[in-house]
C-alpha cells in the first residue's frame, strides 16, 4: 500500500496525481497528499511514473504499513521499479529483449509441476 512521498525529492509535477489509476493522491501545496490510501491497489505505477523516485509503496496490499523514511531512503528500493523497467534510460534499446522468455519459463514451471504430480500419483498407487 502507498506508504510515503519524500517531500525533499518530489519536484511537484503532480504526475502521480494524474496517473494513479485509483485516485489515491490529491495535489498539495508542494508534494501531493496521500488522500485515499484505502483505494490503493499496490500496483507500483506511481513509482514507475515518478521521475524523481520520490514515492515508496509498501509491499502489503491489505494493510497500511508504518515505515521509517530514512531506512527506506537507504534501502535502495526507491527508483528500483522504474530502473528495472528501463524507464530511467528511455534512449537505450533492448529493455524488452528478455520478454520472449516469459512463455517458455512459465511452461517449464508448469511442466515440472505436472511431472511431479504424475510421479507422486503413481508412487501412491
Amino acid at each position: 500500500m502507498i506508504a510515503h512521498i519524500f517531500d525533499d525529492l518530489c519536484n511537484g509535477c503532480n504526475s502521480c496525481v494524474t496517473i494513479c489509476p485509483t485516485h489515491v493522491f490529491d495535489a498539495g501545496n508542494s508534494a501531493p497528499v496521500i488522500a485515499r490510501p484505502d483505494q490503493c491497489q499496490t500496483c507500483y505505477m506511481c513509482e514507475l511514473y515518478c521521475v524523481s523516485d520520490a514515492i515508496y509503496v509498501g509491499p502489503d496490499s491489505h494493510a497500511a504499513e508504518i515505515i521509517d523514511p530514512e531506512t527506506i531512503r537507504a534501502s535502495g528500493h526507491l527508483g528500483r521499479v522504474r530502473h528495472d523497467h528501463g524507464w530511467d534510460r528511455p534512449d537505450e534499446a533492448g529493455h524488452l529483449d528478455h520478454y520472449r522468455l516469459l512463455g517458455p519459463l512459465l511452461q517449464e514451471g508448469g511442466e515440472t509441476a505436472a511431472q511431479r504430480y504424475r510421479a507422486l500419483a503413481t508412487s501412491r498407487e
Binding site: P21, P59, H95
Partner: protein, 526 residues
C-alpha cells in the same frame, strides 16, 4: 460538485484498458470524432496495464489455424464459435505489429521481432500514444455513472463525474462502446480495483443482456499479502501449517480445491525450489513488479517459504460479460457495443478461461471491430439532431424509500466473501448458491431502497451497486446451469449435461432472469 460539462461526439468509448484503446484507435482512424472516458488513467488503469498480455498468435497457415480452432472449440466444451475464433486470430496477427511505432517490441532471439507478448505498462503507454495520434480524445479520471437512452431505446451517450475537477459531465454520442473490463469483486487481484462491473450495470439498465456469467470461477495464486503476476509460481510446492506437502494437480478446479481446502484450515506456504534455474536472475527484468512485494518484506522468494492466497478473478479470467448479438460486437441494445472483458468471451474461448492468449486477442479484435462499427453508426447519424435522451441510471440515484447511508464496506466484504470465498466458489451447489443469492438480493434492495449519492460519492456507491449486481447475475446463472462445464463446477451436478452446450443468458435488475440462448445470432438472422 459543480456545473456540468456537455459535449457531443460520434463515438464514445467507456473504459481505458487495451480494449478501449484499440477501439479508440479504430474509431478515430475513420475520421469519427471519438472520445474515450476512463475511470482511471489510460496507461495504468485496468488489468492490461499490470498484466503482460500474450496474444493468441497463429501464423496465417489455413491448415494450422483450422486445427487450432477445432481443438479450442472442443477444449471450450462446445460453447465457442469457430468463425469468431478465426476472425480474432486474423485481426490480431494483422494488427498488433502496427504498434511498432509506439511499442519497443523486443527480439525473438533469432534475429526477428517478438510480437505476441507485450508488457502491460509499456503496452498501455503505447496504445495511449497511438490513440491520441489517431485523433481520439482521452479523458482520464472520468468514470461513467450511467448511460443516456433516446426515445427509441437506443443508447445515446453517457454521464459521469470528473474526479480531478469535481465536475459532472454528459457526452451525447449515437454510438457507445462499453470496454469497462471484467469484475473480480475487489479480491485484490492485481490491477483490478477499478473493475467493479460498472459496465455490466450501466448496460443492463439500458436493457442489455449478459451471457456466460456462470463462468466466473478462476483464481490466481500469489503471496498472501499481495497479488502479483504468476510467472515464478508455476512449479511451486505447497505445504500446510505443519509443513506437510499438499498434493494437488497442477491446474484446474481440483488444484484450486486442494489449495482452497487447505487454506480454509489454516495458512498454506509455497516454496520455489523447483522453479526454472534461469528464472531468478532475470525475473526483475521480465516482470519488474513481481519481486518488490518479496524484496520489500525481506523475503527471498526463491529460497524461503512464504504464505499464499488465492485471489479471485471473477469475470476477468472467467469469461462472462455482455452478450454479443451480431458480428459487429453489438449488444442487445441499439447503439451499444461491447469489447474486451466487458463482453462475454464464450464466443472465442467457450466455457474455459481465455487467460493466457485468447482474452487479449479478443480485447484487441473486439476493440477494433466495435470501434469501426461504432464509427460507421456515429458518422451516419452525425447530422441528426440529438433527440431527447433520458438518463438510464437506477440504483443509488432514485431511492424508493427514505434516503439512508449505505455501509459500502460491509456490503463489499459480503460480495467478496460470496463470490471469492473458497467455500462458496469452489464448492458450488444449489443450497449454497440460493443462500448467496438471497443475501445479495437483500443488499441490492437495500441500495435501491435507500441509496442516494452525488459526485464522487455517487461513483463509489455505483461501484458497490455494480459489484452486487454482477454477483447476482453470476450466482443466478450458476444456479441455472445445473451441470459442470469448463470453469463452472457444481458439486451437486458433476459432469456434463448432454444438452448443456448452449450459452446461458441472464439479466434483469430487481427481477433477475436466465434463459438459454436458443439459437445463435447467425441462425436468427436468416
Amino acid at each position: 460538485m459543480s456545473d456540468g460539462v456537455t459535449v457531443r461526439a460520434d463515438v464514445l468509448i467507456i473504459g481505458g484498458g487495451m480494449a478501449a484503446a484499440w477501439a479508440a484507435i479504430a474509431a478515430a482512424k475513420t475520421g469519427a470524432s471519438t472520445i474515450l472516458v476512463d475511470k482511471g488513467y489510460v496507461g495504468t488503469s485496468g488489468v492490461t496495464a499490470t498484466a503482460g498480455p500474450n496474444h493468441w498468435w497463429v501464423p496465417p497457415d489455413p491448415v494450422r489455424r483450422r486445427e487450432i480452432i477445432e481443438r479450442k472449440w472442443a477444449d471450450g466444451f462446445e460453447l465457442g464459435d469457430p468463425a469468431w475464433m478465426e476472425r480474432i486470430i486474423d485481426i490480431t496477427w494483422r494488427t498488433l505489429p502496427d504498434l511498432a511505432r509506439y511499442y519497443p517490441f523486443g527480439s525473438d532471439g533469432r534475429g526477428g521481432t517478438y510480437y505476441s507478448g507485450v508488457r502491460g505498462a509499456e503496452y498501455m503507454r503505447a496504445l495511449r500514444t497511438y490513440a491520441v495520434a489517431a485523433g481520439a480524445r482521452i479523458l482520464d479520471h472520468h468514470p461513467a455513472t450511467q448511460l443516456l437512452v433516446d426515445q427509441d431505446g437506443a443508447v445515446a451517450g453517457a454521464c459521469g463525474h470528473a474526479r480531478l475537477t469535481g465536475q459532472d459531465w454528459k457526452i451525447h454520442a449515437p454510438a457507445v462502446i462499453m470496454a469497462t473490463g471484467g469484475c473480480a469483486f475487489r479480491s485484490g487481484l492485481i490491477g483490478s480495483h477499478g473493475n467493479s462491473g460498472d459496465g455490466y450495470l450501466l448496460a443492463a439498465e439500458a436493457g442489455a443482456e449478459l451471457s456466460g456469467m456462470e463462468f466466473s470461477i478462476q483464481y490466481t495464486v500469489s503471496p498472501a499479502w499481495a497479488s502479483t503476476r504468476t510467472l515464478p509460481y508455476g512449479a511451486a510446492r505447497y505445504y500446510d501449517a505443519r509443513g506437510v506437502e499438499i498434493i494437488q494437480p497442477p491446474r484446474g478446479h481440483a488444484h484450486y480445491q486442494a489449495l482452497g481446502a487447505a487454506l480454509l484450515e489454516g495458512p498454506v506456504y509455497a516454496d520455489l525450489i523447483d522453479a526454472p534455474v534461469e528464472l531468478p536472475p532475470i525475473l526483475h527484468d521480465i516482470q519488474p513488479f513481481t519481486p518488490p512485494p518479496f524484496v520489500r518484506k525481506g523475503i527471498d522468494m526463491f529460497k524461503q517459504r512464504w504464505p499464499i492466497k488465492l485471489f479471485g478473478e471473477g469475470t476477468i479470467r472467467g469469461n462472462g460479460g455482455l452478450r454479443i448479438v451480431d458480428d459487429m460486437c453489438g449488444t442487445s441494445v441499439t447503439g451499444l457495443y461491447a469489447a474486451g472483458d466487458a463482453a462475454t468471451r464464450e464466443l472465442v474461448t467457450g466455457a474455459i478461461s481465455g487467460g493466457g492468449a485468447v482474452n487479449s486477442a479478443w480485447a484487441l479484435s473486439s476493440g477494433q471491430i466495435a470501434g469501426a462499427a461504432a464509427a460507421r453508426r456515429g458518422l451516419a447519424l452525425r447530422g441528426e439532431a440529438a433527440g431527447k435522451a433520458r438518463m438510464a441510471g437506477t440504483v443509488a440515484m432514485h431511492p424508493r424509500l427514505t434516503e439512508q447511508p449505505i455501509d459500502r464496506k460491509a456490503i463489499e466484504a459480503d460480495v467478496d466473501h460470496h463470490m471469492n470465498g473458497y467455500q462458496h466458489a469452489l464448492w458450488r451447489s444449489e443450497g449454497q448458491l440460493t443462500q448467496s443469492l438471497a443475501l445479495l438480493d437483500a443488499h441490492w434492495r437495500m441500495i435501491g431502497d435507500h441509496g442516494r449519492a452525488q459526485g464522487l460519492a455517487l461513483v463509489g456507491l455505483r461501484e458497490t451497486a455494480a459489484m452486487v449486481a454482477t454477483a447476482r447475475w453470476c450466482t443466478a446463472a450458476a444456479l441455472a446451469r445445473k451441470e459442470s462445464r469448463g470453469v463452472h463446477v457444481r458439486v451437486d451436478a458433476p459432469g456434463l449435461d448432454p444438452g448443456g452446450n448452449v450459452r446461458l443468458l441472464t439479466g434483469g435488475l430487481d427481477q433477475l432472469w436466465t434463459r438459454p440462448e436458443s439459437r445463435s445470432y447467425a441462425e436468427a438472422a436468416e
